[in-house]
C-alpha cells in the first residue's frame, strides 16, 4: 500500500564522522591503520568480525601501496580517511605513487592443491570484504575508495 508520506531521508544524507591520518609508507604503520579503521567501524556499529574484515581489506590496499606503489622507496606517504555513518563505512586511501587501478586487476579464484597461486590474494580479499571498490586518479594521486554498508556475513 502506498502512502502520501515523504520518504525518510536516505542514510547517505546523515552526517558522517570523518577522520584522516597520513602515515609514512612503512609496514610498521599497518597496526595504526588498523586502529583507525577499527575506530571508524565501531562508530558505524559494525560487529567485531565485520570490523576486522574492514581492517584486513584496508591493510591489503595499504600494503600494496607500500610494496608495489612506492616499491619500498623512502619518503612516500599514504593517507587513510574514514567516513563513518551508522551501518555505512567509507575508507579512502590516497597515495602519490605511480597510477595503479586495482579494480581492473583480474580477480584470482580460490586456490586448489593443483593451483597454489599465491599472487592476487590481497585484491581478492578487498573485493570479498567490501561492497564497493572505486578507483580514481586525481592529479598525481591514486584514490581508492572502499565502501562497506552491510554486516559481514562470512566468507
Amino acid at each position: 500500500m502506498r502512502t502520501a508520506k515523504q520518504p525518510s531521508p536516505p542514510s547517505e544524507a546523515a552526517t558522517a564522522e570523518v577522520s584522516r591520518q597520513t602515515f609514512p609508507a612503512e609496514s610498521e604503520q599497518l597496526r595504526q591503520v588498523c586502529e583507525s579503521v577499527r575506530e571508524a567501524a565501531s562508530l558505524c556499529g559494525f560487529d567485531e568480525r565485520t570490523s576486522y574484515a574492514c581492517q584486513l581489506a584496508t591493510c591489503e590496499a595499504v600494503e600494496n601501496v607500500i610494496q608495489h606503489g612506492y616499491r619500498g622507496a623512502a619518503g612516500g606517504q599514504v593517507t587513510v580517511e574514514t567516513r563513518a555513518r551508522p551501518g555505512d563505512l567509507v575508507v579512502e586511501i590516497v597515495d602519490d605513487a605511480p597510477p595503479f587501478d586495482p579494480t581492473s586487476y583480474p580477480l584470482v579464484s580460490d586456490a586448489s592443491p593443483d593451483d597454489m597461486q599465491v599472487g592476487g590474494r590481497g585484491i581478492l580479499m578487498i573485493h570479498r570484504v567490501m561492497d564497493d571498490v572505486h578507483y580514481e586518479r586525481r592529479g598525481n594521486k591514486n584514490h581508492l575508495r572502499l565502501t562497506k554498508n552491510r554486516a559481514f556475513t562470512g566468507a
Partner: protein, 110 residues
C-alpha cells in the same frame, strides 16, 4: 608477533601469536626456513593466537606449504582463531590446508 616452536620427533608445532602482516611475516618466514634447513618437513601451525593475518602472512604459509610438500612433509593448521580462518577463507586459500580443531588432533594426523 610471537613465535613459539615445539619440536617433536615426527612433527614440529609452531605457535604464532599476534599480528602477522608485512611488518612481521619476514620473521615467520625466517623461522620456518630455519626449521626446514634443520631437516624438518612436518609442521603443525597453531594459529589460535593470531589477531591479524594479511596476505603477506598467507604468502609465507603457502610458500612453506609448497616447500614441505615437495619434501614429503606437510603444513597443517590447528586451532585457528576466527580471525585467522576469516583471512584464509577471504583469500580463497582454505582449499590448500588441512585444518584441525586442536594441536593434539593436528599432531596425531601425521
Amino acid at each position: 608477533m610471537e613465535i613459539k616452536t615445539q619440536p617433536y620427533e615426527r612433527v614440529t608445532v609452531v605457535a604464532v601469536e599476534g599480528r602477522v602482516d608485512s611488518a612481521s611475516a619476514g620473521d615467520l618466514e625466517a623461522e620456518l626456513k630455519r626449521l626446514i634447513e634443520e631437516g624438518k618437513a612436518s609442521f603443525v601451525l597453531d594459529l589460535s593466537g593470531v589477531e591479524f593475518l594479511s596476505s603477506s602472512g598467507l604468502r609465507v604459509l603457502v610458500t612453506t606449504l609448497k616447500t614441505v610438500r615437495k619434501a614429503g612433509g606437510d603444513l597443517r593448521l590447528a586451532a585457528m582463531s576466527q580471525r585467522a580462518s576469516d583471512a584464509i577463507e577471504l583469500a580463497g586459500l582454505d582449499p590448500l590446508f588441512k585444518t584441525y580443531e586442536d594441536r593434539e588432533a593436528a599432531v596425531a594426523s601425521f
